[in-house]
């Protein structure tokens, strides 16, 4: 073993990290080599110097108790969240402003969440689905006005629903208009056009003005498919004036293809 190799293992030897055979090899080299020996002495001295001279502070005896209290606090709040809350309520005077601000932020973020362009409140979707289901209970659908002419349907309801032009058309893909109905979505009135897309299969096309508080607001909405387990597929989209919804027991691709033939998309 030469000096270079011996030096390499020197620290590990000092730290007691070498296997016995290597250990012996280095030791026997050190005995015959004063240079490496001095190197070892310097390292030993360094290690003990650092150990001796570094101030070894001890934590205050209270540290562990503080940790235990924090752990218990946390476990308590996790178990009974209202108790953690109760500690802060009713708020002390300086806290009142904080709570007030927090409440405003909460209300704001909730309304933003409601109005967020991408969000469609599920009650609205449920209403569409209910309306659609009502239309497929009978073979021809419980339509208010059986008709194959969309313009006629719009004219028929124009006293109750503001002019719904452009009238949606769904003539391609073998879809056949069978009639139209008046729908209520909270305070908003809209029309439902019922189409047959195959033997015993109908698709409902909803159209309603979008200037309303009750309906979800979204700016320029491209077709948005709302997947629903165990329920008909719902495809929503909108333009400057109207919201459209296409509902039917069809795969997403088919609903999209049908919608692609319509005006306003």
């Amino acid at each position: 073993m030469d000096c270079e190799e011996a030096r390499f293992g020197l620290y590990a030897l000092l730290d007691d990290e070498l296997e016995v055979s290597k250990n012996l090899e280095i030791l026997s080299h050190l005995e015959g080599c004063p240079v490496c020996h001095r190197e070892l002495e310097l390292d030993m001295r360094l290690k003990s110097l650092v150990r001796e001279q570094l101030v070894a502070p001890v934590p205050s005896p209270e540290l562990w108790n503080r940790i235990v209290r924090r752990i218990e606090q946390e476990a308590e709040v996790a178990r009974r969240p209202w108790e953690g809350f109760a500690k802060w309520w009713p708020p002390a005077r300086p806290l009142r402003a904080v709570w007030g601000a927090l409440a405003i932020v909460l209300v704001l973020s909730f309304s933003l969440w409601i109005l967020h362009p991408g969000q469609v409140p599920s009650p609205f979707v449920e209403e569409l689905v209910q309306e659609h289901r009502g239309s497929v209970t009978r073979k021809s659908g419980p339509v208010d006005l059986p008709s194959t002419d969309p313009a006629e349907i719009v004219r028929h309801f124009q006293a109750e629903v503001p002019p719904l032009s452009p009238v949606p058309l769904l003539a391609q893909e073998g879809a056949r208009l069978v009639g139209g109905s008046l729908c209520h979505f909270k305070e908003t009135k809209g029309l439902r056009f019922t189409y047959e897309v195959g033997p015993g299969r109908t698709v409902s096309l909803f159209q309603m003005p979008r200037s309303t508080r009750a309906l979800p607001f979204w700016p320029k909405l491209g077709p948005r498919y709302i997947a629903q387990p165990q329920a008909p597929g719902v495809l929503l989209w909108g333009d400057a004036r109207f919201l459209y919804g296409l509902v039917g027991e069809l795969p997403q691709e088919d609903l999209r293809r049908l919608a692609s033939h319509m005006k306003g998309i």
């Binding site: 002495e41 110097l49 650092v50 001279q53 570094l54 070894a56 209290r69 924090r70 752990i71």
Partner: protein, 209 residues
């Protein structure tokens, strides 16, 4: 004081694993942040994190390495959060009062009042990685394997960091490392490093049978 929160078996286990290392954790934190109160806060935070993640701790593995790893991450996070340059902050460790902004100042080093302070300054001057390795190895007596686990790096990295840190420390503390001249003339203490190592090896050999 015992943890009285729900799940007494789990709490007992956590206590038994953590409490024995509390002093070492604190010592390490003080060395890293140079502030007693802040060190206690950091240890407290680390213990809380450990308690939260106790279910993920693999039973039977090294609790010491696990706890130190959490502490080191906590310290790194805190340092990232706080300003990177805590200026002229008066720090008190034991009776030694040092200003952090002067830690790396060579003049200050020359004026270091005590040997202890000089060692402290030399350790402070090391990079964070080297510092951690030196503290864990020299002060806490971690094995290379334990250090590797704690710092989540290969043993080879631990060895090379330790090697370089030692070189740097030796340069800085050179004048205090002079071997006792009496020993060089053969009249010094009778136990030489080699004898010490041989004795240690012998004792180990006996233990291993």
């Amino acid at each position: 004081m015992r943890i009285k929160a729900k799940g007494s078996g789990r709490n007992r286990e956590f206590e038994e694993l953590t409490l024995p290392h509390l002093g070492a954790l604190y010592r390490f934190a003080v060395q890293k942040v140079r502030d007693a109160a802040q060190a206690e806060d950091l240890v407290q935070e680390a213990c809380l994190k450990a308690y939260r993640g106790f279910d993920r701790f693999e039973r039977g593995t090294d609790a010491k390495a696990w706890l130190f790893r959490i502490l080191i991450n906590t310290i790194v996070d805190a340092q990232r959060r706080g300003s990177r340059e805590p200026t002229a902050l008066a720090l008190e460790i034991g009776n030694v009062e040092v200003e952090r902004s002067h830690f790396l100042d060579p003049e200050r080093q020359l004026l270091a009042e005590s040997l202890g302070q000089e060692v402290q300054v030399a350790i402070e001057a090391l990079s964070q990685d080297w510092q951690a390795v030196v503290l864990l190895s020299f002060v806490e007596g971690f094995t290379y394997k334990e250090i590797a686990k704690t710092l989540d790096c290969p043993i080879g990295t631990v060895m090379s960091r330790l090697y370089r840190a030692r070189q740097a420390l030796r340069q800085r503390l050179e004048r205090h490392l002079d071997v006792d001249p009496r020993r060089a003339t053969g009249t010094g203490p009778s136990v030489t490093p080699i004898e010490l190592l041989r004795a240690r090896r012998k004792a180990r050999g006996k233990k291993e049978g």
